[in-house]
């Protein structure tokens, strides 16, 4: 019954979304206040309906209602509760539900927090969001319905793929989707602005917080996915340039460009058309990403043919959304007039360069991901594009960008002084040169490019600090004055510094991974091996039961120079239901380096393969990503975004009687 109610709510949500996507639009055109206001009501109603529907599906998973086909195919009674819940989005139908749920959440958030928006703009934004909702709801209801019942319900379900039964992966899709879907707000704003024919600083000010929030979520989502890969796969890889990863990385790259270009719109009233285009492209890539992952075309173009209804629907939806918005862009964008002029060397110029490099980076990833598919569809040769390709094309594009990240904030708006900026960064050169030489000396004979990478990272970190020191006037004015300035700096400035610093930390972590060492040995219980400065002793391996698996658990003692460092317990888990084995690695970190241990297979004599890796600075990859996301959140908390917040604060201060 609850399942049918959920199904019913979803259908009802479709009709609400239909109203949301039309009535406010007409209202905005005719300046009809009542019609425009329906946008708000509908957005909130659609959110509540979809939330109920989502809750119904989740309930079916939690109580293991196997009469629902989707639950039977993806759940099992023995599964821990966390994975029963996360199993909801561990499959195609459920993940589409999560997508549309997030979408309606964003639309409702816009509806609630948009008191400052001009009513016509708000109505149009919500209408565009409604249209996206209609597309997805139709897709779910007609081709991917999670509420279908089975005629003969099985006694138990098939269960969730054991590899997905992991806390990191339970929360990875929601963050990723929140990021993808969050960009729909920027998209809706862009389309609304095109309809209205007006983009101004205020528009950029409304768009920026939404873009920032989605960017943060996407950053966290991608980082979680890569961290999961790192600790799960058993040899310490964390990024594979896999099409599925690339699908999430492309919107991130363009989204990053969007954050930066909207700053220019806000501060300098120029780059408007470009920013609108970026907003459209970012969300389009989110759509493409979702569908690339979900449709299975990535494995082969022919996977499309196995489910023609879904494939055709997807293509149609992409065509309408992307083609429609780009057509509107082509017609209306020339009418948008740019204001502020600037010289090539200026803050604006640096941000344009950032946008150019990020967009080309994205184009590289796009080509690398879709080119094999494209050739395949044209009956061309079969190709593989993997990490050696991206290392040679993407990395050289990003290296100059990282250098530009350090210089850009030092340039003035309108017309900057490049030479002056470069001179003011002298401390950064010295620090970077010293560190690079020191590392080069210590690792002599090792990978030179990795040393350079660390050098660039150190340079960027030093440049970020220099920029802050300049801003607060440290060493130029009295310490007390500097302190006062530091407090007064807007949060957005701190957010920028933090995000750029996070990038430096990230680059250092990535570069240093070239220095990792590995040891792979077959050990008897009691046998030991050496790795870096560590002694690794396999004490014993024992069988232990788990909730829905049995595990071989190794006890491994790590010592260094006779001093015990740690005891770790890597496992191999066998899931009898799916007849699959997964590895549970053990990672010992001191934040400067990881000691990574994985238990391999036992041979006939009961000897175990033990894989041990020493990975310097690798944790910095995720620490860096976390700092970047944190920077975004700090910037998001800047009160300038909460248009009207300051006035409210003042009003209440005045209202309080001075008794």
């Amino acid at each position: 019954m609850i399942v049918e109610l959920g199904h019913f709510c979803l259908i009802l949500a479709l009709f609400v979304a239909l109203i949301q996507s039309t009535v406010p639009l007409v209202g905005a055109a005719r300046r009809h206040v009542g019609w425009m206001a329906t946008g708000r009501t509908c957005a909130i109603a659609a959110f509540l309906l979809i939330a109920l529907s989502m809750a119904a599906l989740m309930h079916a998973y939690i109580v293991s209602d196997f009469s629902v086909v989707n639950v039977a195919e993806n759940s099992h009674t023995d599964k821990p509760l966390l994975y029963k819940v996360s199993g909801v989005w561990g499959n195609h139908e459920g993940s589409m539900m999560l997508w549309v749920f997030m979408l309606s959440f964003c639309a409702a958030a816009v509806a609630v927090f948009s008191n400052n928006l001009p009513p016509a703009l708000r109505a149009r934004v919500l209408a565009v969001q409604g249209m996206i909702g209609v597309g997805f709801l139709l897709f779910i209801l007609f081709t991917s319905n999670p509420f279908l019942r089975a005629v003969n319900p099985p006694a138990n379900g098939h269960g969730l793929n054991p590899v997905l039964q992991d806390p990191g992966l339970a929360f990875h899709p929601p963050f990723l989707y929140l990021g993808y879907v969050g960009f729909s707000v920027a998209f809706a704003f862009a389309v609304a602005a095109l309809i209205e024919g007006k983009v101004d600083a205020a528009w950029a000010r409304w768009v920026r917080p939404w873009t920032l929030a989605s960017w943060c979520a996407l950053t966290i989502g991608i980082a979680m996915g890569s961290w999961w890969a790192y600790y799960t796969l058993g040899w310490g890889g964390w990024w594979f340039w896999d099409p599925v990863e690339n699908a999430s990385f492309m919107p991130w790259l363009v989204g990053t460009a969007l954050i930066h270009s909207s700053i220019v719109v806000e501060k300098r009233d120029t780059l408007k058309t470009w920013t609108i285009l970026l907003a459209i492209v970012t969300f389009s890539l989110s759509l493409v990403g979702t569908f690339l992952v979900r449709s299975g075309v990535l494995t082969s173009v022919h996977a499309f043919a196995t489910d023609p209804a879904r494939g055709t629907f997807i293509l149609l939806l992409l065509l309408v959304a992307i083609g429609g918005s780009l057509a509107l862009f082509a017609v209306r964008a020339p009418k948008l007039q740019g204001g502020g002029l600037f010289a090539p060397v200026s803050r604006e110029g640096a941000l344009v360069l950032n946008n150019l490099l990020l967009s080309c980076g994205c184009a590289t990833v796009f080509l690398g991901t879709l080119y094999p598919l494209f050739l395949d569809a044209m009956d061309g040769p079969k190709l593989s594009v993997g990490f050696p390709f991206f290392n040679r094309t993407f990395v050289p594009l990003m290296a100059p960008m990282i250098l530009a990240v350090g210089i850009g904030p030092m340039l003035a708006w309108k017309r900057g002084d490049l030479l002056g900026a470069l001179q003011r960064l002298w401390v950064a050169y010295i620090v970077a040169a010293l560190v690079t030489l020191a590392i080069f000396y210590v690792t002599y004979g090792g990978p030179v490019l990795a040393v350079l990478g660390i050098g660039i990272a150190v340079w960027l970190a030093a440049a970020v600090v220099t920029e802050w020191v300049e801003r607060v006037g440290l060493f130029r004015i009295s310490l007390a004055d500097s302190f006062r300035r530091a407090i007064k700096l807007p949060r957005a400035a701190y957010g920028m510094s933090a995000a750029h610093f996070g990038l430096a930390v990230f680059v250092a972590g990535v570069s240093a991974s070239a220095f990792s060492q590995e040891g792979i040995e077959v050990l008897k219980a009691g046998g030991s091996m050496k790795l870096a400065s560590y002694e690794i002793l396999l004490e014993r391996v024992e069988k232990i039961p788990g909730p829905n698996f049995t595990a071989d658990r190794a006890t491994i003692r790590i010592s260094s120079g006779g001093v015990a460092v740690a005891t770790v317990y890597p496992e191999r888990r066998f899931f009898p239901l799916q007849k699959q084995t997964t590895g549970e690695t053990a990672i010992r970190t001191n934040l400067l380096a990881d000691l990574y241990l994985a238990l391999g297979e036992a041979d006939a004599e009961g000897n175990w393969t033990v894989r041990a890796y020493w990975k310097p600075l690798v944790p910095w990859i995720w620490i860096g990503a976390a700092i970047m996301a944190f920077g975004g959140l700090v910037s998001l908390s800047d009160r300038r975004w909460r248009v009207g917040a300051a006035a409210r604060a003042r009003r209440s201060a005045v209202a309080a009687p001075a008794e």
């Binding site: 793929n161 099409p243 190709l383 297979e601």
Partner: protein, 153 residues
């Protein structure tokens, strides 16, 4: 989301995954030659996986190719010859870094071409831009702007 590879491998081989990536038994006694084999392996694709190199893959086929590469090296092949031996058996598909040829020019040079076009286009745009006087704000907008600016202070 590398689990896709995992899933593909698993579904293809069912119980056959027995090991992680490079196995101790596969290794060559000569460390220099083993290092060469490893670097070749990172550029070859595990054919039954998605975008994993044979150096990373757990699949049996990857194991076979790793052994093949090592055998070629032992027989005295250069790195290029060993790679070629694998390519002649499985085609260009096995190369994670596609060869540069007319069919892949767009792939290899597309981004650089885009960057150069973008750079020249931007410079051209900056130079040729006429000074545009932004349209004046309406009275209502002006009042709204002042209110917003005041909030900032």
């Amino acid at each position: 989301m590398v689990f896709r590879c995992f899933v593909v491998c698993i579904s293809l081989l069912l119980l056959a995954i027995s090991a992680y990536a490079v196995e101790p038994v596969e290794r060559l006694p000569d460390p220099a030659m083993e290092a060469r084999a490893r670097s070749i392996s990172t550029e070859l694709r595990c054919l039954v996986c998605q975008n994993e190199s044979i150096d990373e893959s757990h699949a049996d086929l990857a194991h076979d190719i790793r052994v093949l590469v090592r055998e070629r090296l032992k027989a005295g092949d250069t790195d290029a010859q060993a790679t070629q031996a694998v390519v002649s058996r499985y085609g260009d598909f096995v190369l994670l870094r596609p060869p540069v040829k007319p069919a892949t020019w767009l792939l290899w040079f597309g981004p650089v071409a885009l960057l150069l076009t973008g750079l020249t286009g931007t410079l051209y745009w900056l130079r040729s831009r006429p000074a545009v006087v932004p349209p004046a704000l309406s009275a209502v907008e002006q009042a709204e702007l002042e209110r917003l600016l005041k909030d900032d202070a």
